[in-house]
Amino acid sequence: MAKRDTPLLDELEKGPWPSFVTDLKRQAEKKPECWDILGQLELSYHDRITHWKHGGIVGVFGYGGGIVGRYSDLPKEFPGVAHFHTIRVNQPSSKFYNTAKLRALCDLWEKHGSGMTNFHGSTGDLILLGTTTDHLEPLFYELTHELHQDLGGSGSNLRSPACCIGKARCEWSCFDTQAACHGLTMHYQDELHRPAFPYKFKFKFSGCPNDCVAALARSDFAVIGTWKDDIRIDQAAVQSYIKGEFPSNGGAHSGRDWGPFDIQKEVIGLCPTECMWMEGDELKIDTSECTRCMHCINVMPRALRPGVETGATVNVGAKAPILEGAQFATLTIPFIKVDPESEFEELIEQIEKIWDWWMEIGKNRERVGETIQRVGLPTFMKIMELEPIPQMVREPRSNPYIFWQEDEVPGGFERDVREFRKKHAQ
């Protein structure tokens, strides 16, 4: 592959942010097909349109996911990227690596692909960007035999689950997000690698309501840490915040003078449920009124910590807008224990209730959140064998069109119109 002139892309080598163009050129010295990535991209910059098309049957034998077929629509002009498939490698929970593992991955990809990657894709997988069909089986063999790694999900499969950093380096994680993510990924290897569902299905695990992995916005089954008991308060540390000895919000606002810290204005006054107050020098919180939004804890991390009776809230059915519009996940189980000791059987039980139902009644290309919209939340609650509670809604319904069931009404639905007519002339 010859070097390409890229006058438009060269403009993206300027400026303070790291340049992917510079990086691609660096890679092209070892991997000349990168010149064809640059060449085709330069043409897209000139034409203002993509030059890729997709094709549906590439994969490794026996897997229905993990590889996405991709072809240039100008294969003669750009032979280096004529066939240029994507490989999704399932990432380790919360994306820690050692350099031995990373170097092995780099060597594998130098041998079998373009050398370009995404660290990481939106769902969480480590994405290897660009190879030909004849490399897929050898790469998969070496990935599994030598690197002891596996592919991630794509298509109508379980997608690679993802989690926040959790207990590895966060003081707020209310359950072991990494263990849950890894445990359920291992438990559902078949669903991850082979299609099982009407459409994609995603699990995500966030350790607290800050939801750093965006579970509530983008996972079909969102597990988000929470707690039941009192926020733990270190009153001496509260005083240190009031005296300005500790920076507010862990130093997040250090670049600007916002004036001296004001606990009334910045913490108590912003509490959405107004459940906090000062009694002399003591900060008080009425736990029964608290909705665990994390604001006070975020502002004063050295003084306040989540409680010790911890677990998770499960919300179901989030998705991006396509097709029916975006949805956040709906609160389904307010509090559940997430226990590595039981191998997460509490979560597994709930997941399989959803799957057994959705596999049967979900339409093709319908996310579970859309299925729930279609049948209604009350129907879904019955499937999940859950008692209706006010926590499941923001507010009660405002229309009276209840779908009454026959057994809810004395005497049922069958009546005799002739009996009715005896008392009511036509």
């Binding site: 049957i57 996911g65 077929g69 298509g155 299609p195 049967e360 093709n364």
Partner: protein
């Protein structure tokens, strides 16, 4: 009563062979045996892929099944077109 695994395999192969659509969703196979649970049918369909009777077709976001001889292959199609030019 639910079909035996062998009978279910035959029914799925027949459906995939005779359906006017070469590519089928997993849900299309549910009709092969209304008495079998979706999960059972899914497992049997995936076993047929391992046996080479079916293969996967994926748009990236959706995965479908097809008989290998009924599916359009981007790479062989290109080759054929190139030979046509010769």
């Amino acid at each position: 009563m639910a079909l035996s695994t062998e009978d279910l395999k035959l029914a799925i192969i027949e459906k995939a062979t005779k359906s006017p659509k070469p590519q089928l969703y997993i849900k299309d196979f549910y009709k092969c045996d209304p008495d079998s649970k979706p999960r059972v049918i899914k497992n049997v369909a995936n076993e047929l892929v391992r046996e080479g009777e079916l293969m996967f077709w994926s748009s990236g976001s959706t995965t479908m099944y097809a008989r290998p001889d009924r599916i359009k292959n981007e790479e062989t199609r290109e080759d054929a077109e190139e030979h046509k030019d010769d």
